[in-house]
Symmetry: C2
Subunit: 415 residues, 2 copies
């Protein structure tokens, strides 16, 4: 059973959502602009709160790369404010008529985008997510309950206080954005069991967080972001292009879900490509976990079965030779997390077969997996990348943060 | 942990789904036509199997209306066959390009409809659902695992045997349609916990079935069909029209989810409309559970708090006077199941406010709630009516039985 405190917070979110659902785009954009301005006005207070979190994390011996993700400074705060302004500039998804027709009997049928209502977001260290998520939810007409990492609690509390004050000053309920109260896993659990109070839950973070939410939640969940992404170099590949794509997909940014984690090479080009790409990967500082063919190259470590399913998020890659396209499809079917998989090929037939057969959120041809991204896709804002098949798949922008309803207008119609 | 038998069945469904996902529309339509023909060819065997179910149900003292839902005969079997042919005539949703653009960098982006993969359907007595669901799943490219009522096991076994034989004869894997093996709740539980093996689960049946699936399932669920539908007669209503709509929504067919279960009347027209509609409802044999104003009319029984949330599915209705439109919105917000709610009004402002504020799958103006239906909406086939906000809301046709993926084509694009 949810605690009284949680139920009360969720109830205020519902009331705020009811008001927000009817707000005009102008009112929402004004609130977003006010939020951006208030974040900057409150810079001193927010950075002071953040300094407490950083100090606590350092004292607890947190790794410096995690501390860096937690840390805010003037430029990062300015980027958060700019993110809110960017969302203000995007079209309002609410009210969009998705389809409409007049039926033979004269009934007018319209399917219209509407907000979900109350969205819960569970996320890890980065406090910038607090403002990003609040902005996207507000623009799509949803009240949001945020559950950040406890390591960022001071920062998140200060940021949410700013955002609430700004929303209220702009004439919307401050409760459109709230932190989930309480400590530790119990508080997360309340959010996950709040069916009826919360309409959808979006976990953002590592595989462990996401799978525990999926397992425990009775609230409908949108899974995001685990990416065991493959690059398949086909027999008909331009090997120069393949080299560029593999290196970009692996090394452009390693800590992100659309980075490549596994390389598959068609046997027909293995003799030429395996030594060549291995050398380039080694030059780039990438540790290669290879099958027998790759492991014959100096410096390659033999892959274990677990490597094929591993999302390294680091300068490491698994690599195997497959007999042909069918072998690649079979390997991907078995090991892909369904995020992004790419083929490098000059064969139209191979490209066609790969895009049809690979069952992933994004299937790419002659392009780096790094392009699977709301920004790259032109969505303007992104709440995450869905790797599930229900509701939204791939990068989620504002329209993916809405539901629809049918509005049916008659003049006394009966059956 | 799933049993070996279940895992094996689900594995065959996955293999069949992989083939089916790449099947052409012509191949799928040929299989649907073959299924229709084979059902008719197998009439004797299917009706004999059904007779066993009916006999067993009668021996167990099952209510005659339930036995009637279980019973098949020549015309009902012919209707099942015709349903399959109708689905063959509908457009194939798979491959539809939902959106597409060429990005500034030249990448070609397309969002394309693809099947879910393996769909599980849990349903109650009617054996005709077996063929309907199999047809809709096949056309949308999904393999289906069917879990019908154990009371219909002989019928469902015979029907599925026919459908499998027809699919195989038409060149598709017979495993595109299978029954979930095993007895009782344990078998249902396996289906509900088969995350990774089953992509989406659709329970069709009463509120108890649906809420237990929602509570226990780790597979993503699409909730269907519980309808506590309201008719609100506004101060500005044409009362003749209101009378026709209330009677139609309540009495046209009582056992369906889009039947009206609750009547709200604006205080301004209560003095005239309450006695008038009560008389007509009584003439139609409807038991009225009324608030104080309604209960002052002879024959009306006083409503309890539970009545406002009750889906009677019978000749019964709850009825209350509300102060005005805001009162109606408040009542609906508290008690509606989010299926279909209608306003009868001649006021454009009231209609606009009602359609904006009521958060249900279908919001109707001057039309009976009975119109919320895939057939009425022109979808050609319907797997159910979703009352949830994620993925699909309202009547679900073939497109709602698909996911999407992004296909991104470059010519060596890197970031």
């Amino acid at each position: 059973m949810p605690t009284t405190v949680f139920t009360e917070v969720a109830g205020r979110a519902r009331a705020a959502a009811t008001t927000l659902a009817l707000a005009t785009r102008a009112a929402k954009d004004a609130a977003l602009e006010a939020m951006a301005a208030t974040l900057l006005d409150d810079e001193a207070a927010i950075l002071a709160a953040n300094a407490e979190d950083v100090e606590r994390a350092r004292a607890a011996g947190t790794a410096e790369n995690v501390v860096d993700r937690l840390r805010l400074d003037g430029p990062r705060l300015a980027a958060m404010a700019q993110g809110l302004r960017d969302v203000a500039g995007l079209p309002d998804p609410v009210g969009e008529v998705v389809r409409g027709s007049t039926l033979a009997n004269g009934l007018q049928l319209r399917q219209v985008r509407v907000p979900f209502g109350v969205v819960g977001i569970i996320y890890e260290a980065r406090p910038n997510v607090t403002a990003d998520a609040a902005g996207i939810c507000l623009k799509s007409g949803n009240a949001v309950l945020l559950r950040g990492s406890s390591s960022a609690l001071s920062s998140n509390t200060a940021i949410v206080a700013s955002l609430q004050r700004a929303a209220a000053a702009a004439g919307l309920p401050g409760d459109v954005v709230q932190l989930v109260p309480g400590e530790g896993h119990d508080a997360v659990k309340e959010l996950m069991r709040a069916r009826g109070l919360v309409d959808v839950l979006i976990p953002r973070g590592g595989a462990g967080l996401i799978s525990s939410v999926v397992e425990e939640s009775t609230v409908p969940v949108i899974e995001t972001g685990v990416g065991n992404c493959h690059v398949y170099v086909d027999a008909a590949a331009d090997l120069d292009m393949a080299e560029r794509i593999v290196l970009n997909a692996k090394t452009h940014r390693t800590s992100v879900c659309n980075a490549a984690e596994s390389l598959l090479v068609a046997e027909a080009v293995a003799a030429e490509f395996v030594p060549r790409i291995t050398a380039r990967l080694h030059e780039a500082g990438v540790l290669v976990h290879g099958d027998a063919t790759f492991a014959a190259v100096d410096g390659v470590v033999p892959a274990t079965e677990a490597d094929w399913g591993t999302e390294y998020l680091a300068l490491e890659i698994s690599a195997a030779v497959v007999p042909d396209l069918d072998g690649a499809l079979e390997h991907i079917r078995r090991h892909s997390s369904g995020h992004s998989d790419t083929i490098v090929t000059d064969s139209a037939a191979a490209a066609q077969r790969f895009t049809a057969a690979v069952d992933s959120a994004a299937v790419l041809v002659n392009a780096s997996t790094r392009f699977t991204d709301g920004g790259e896709f032109g969505f303007g804002a992104e709440i995450g990348i869905s790797t599930q098949k229900l509701h939204a798949r791939g990068p989620m922008g504002l329209p993916e943060m809405t539901s629809t309803k049918y509005v049916v207008t008659g003049d006394g119609h009966t059956r």
